[in-house]
Subunit: 182 residues, 3 copies
């Protein structure tokens, strides 16, 4: 088996159920979900926190669920991503959020190397969210993809802060910022 098929050399590719241009909004969306998944791979490689590594591996599987759902424009399908995955993210956010000092203002993304990479994941998740909102091709959107991606960037924010808190590294506050968190 060869991995390259040369079938996409002219800029067309396949969704599940339809042949489209590689510029199709769904390809942009799941392509960016895949990019996010790769940055999570980098963050995992920099992390030494077992609980987060195991969260992130679950999230990587769920991003494949979302990717497959987004690629699928056939009728009568069952969605791979379930609402329970969002609830699970929320529990994780609450737990990590409780580990870091209360926040009033924005913080500079960074700190520990792993925290810095989690902030990259946060912002790439937000890019993936924007590109998923942009899908407007008449086919159904997976019902939980947007909420999941929205929560996921908050997960990365909470996790990044928890990493820094665990290492006793204080987040640097944005200095000209007024209180934005309520």
């Amino acid at each position: 088996m060869k991995i390259y098929t040369k079938k996409g050399d002219k800029g067309q590719t396949q969704l599940i159920g339809k042949r489209v241009s590689k510029t199709h909004a769904r390809v942009e969306s799941y392509g960016t979900v895949d990019e996010l998944n790769s940055f999570i791979g980098v963050a995992i490689a920099e992390l030494d926190q077992e609980d987060m590594i195991s969260d992130l591996e679950i999230i990587q599987h769920e991003l494949f669920d979302i990717g497959g759902d987004l690629a699928n424009v056939t009728e009568k399908k069952e969605w791979a991503l379930k609402e329970a995955s969002i609830t699970r993210l929320e529990h994780k956010i609450d737990a990590y959020w409780a580990e870091a000092p209360e926040l009033k203002t924005f913080i500079l993304p960074g700190g520990e190397k792993a925290a810095a990479h989690l902030h990259v994941c946060r912002t790439v998740a937000r890019r993936a969210e924007r590109l998923t909102v942009a899908i407007d091709d008449g086919s159904e959107l997976p019902p939980f993809a947007l909420a999941y991606l929205n929560r996921l960037s908050d997960y990365f924010f909470a996790a990044a802060r928890a990493v820094n808190a665990r290492k006793n590294r204080e987040d640097i506050l944005y200095k000209r910022g007024k209180d934005v968190f309520k």
Copy 2:
């Protein structure tokens, strides 16, 4: 206080002064400024050059200034980013530029790990610049955002070269390149 509000789960969000789609050009722009800010966090975590770390922290604050300015579509506002920040960048560029050997042709982005990450920052700054140029919603643009982002990518280029020069690591010249720098 919870960090997630679920208000953006349907793809809408708020600027300062207006509710818009997450696909709004301003959201793309400051979302990418935030992504750049996160890559700077990674670069800082890889750097051992105190002067650059302290530049980059100032730049991180300034990117929050820009982000807030870009998010703000209200009337009669004062802009957070001042022209002086551009002048400061130019002085830094001149200083780092003088540290590296004269350049005639393009160089391959890379070298020391920190230099490689500064090249990532350089190209993400240019992506942020492109997305800021794309804003065309009738509201005023912050007056110095474009010039700042333009200069910022040159700052990263000069800083990356200075890192390699300080470590006696020669940049690899693009071999089929004619002389492009004048």
Copy 3:
């Protein structure tokens, strides 16, 4: 010589042969090729595999060839990127592919730090491919750019898997995935 010319401070820039907005599809495309090139710089900095480092350096030169070709909208030009570069990539893919265990399902991007960064390169190459497909300005496209970028993401996939295989690190299979590779 100063690196900054301030000529692009208002959002316009130059192709080879034409002055255009920085939002021009060609600028998006070669700007992303440049971003990919920078991530390759990071991957090289994380790699300890001499054969791959030397592949990647060749690829960095070829991406400059592509960048110059994409920037060039003048008549009667010779293209810098030749078809032979694609053939060379295919030989490399075949060789690395043979080093890793047979694959039936998707794998989670990650593993060794260098492998994780190669997956980032893979997905950024795909983003560059999408933005190159999007060019639609009436000027000729370099004839081999799309096929090269398409093959390049498969190269990164094969190389990432080979890194993990060489380090006896098993790729994690996507668990809800059916057999997708044929």
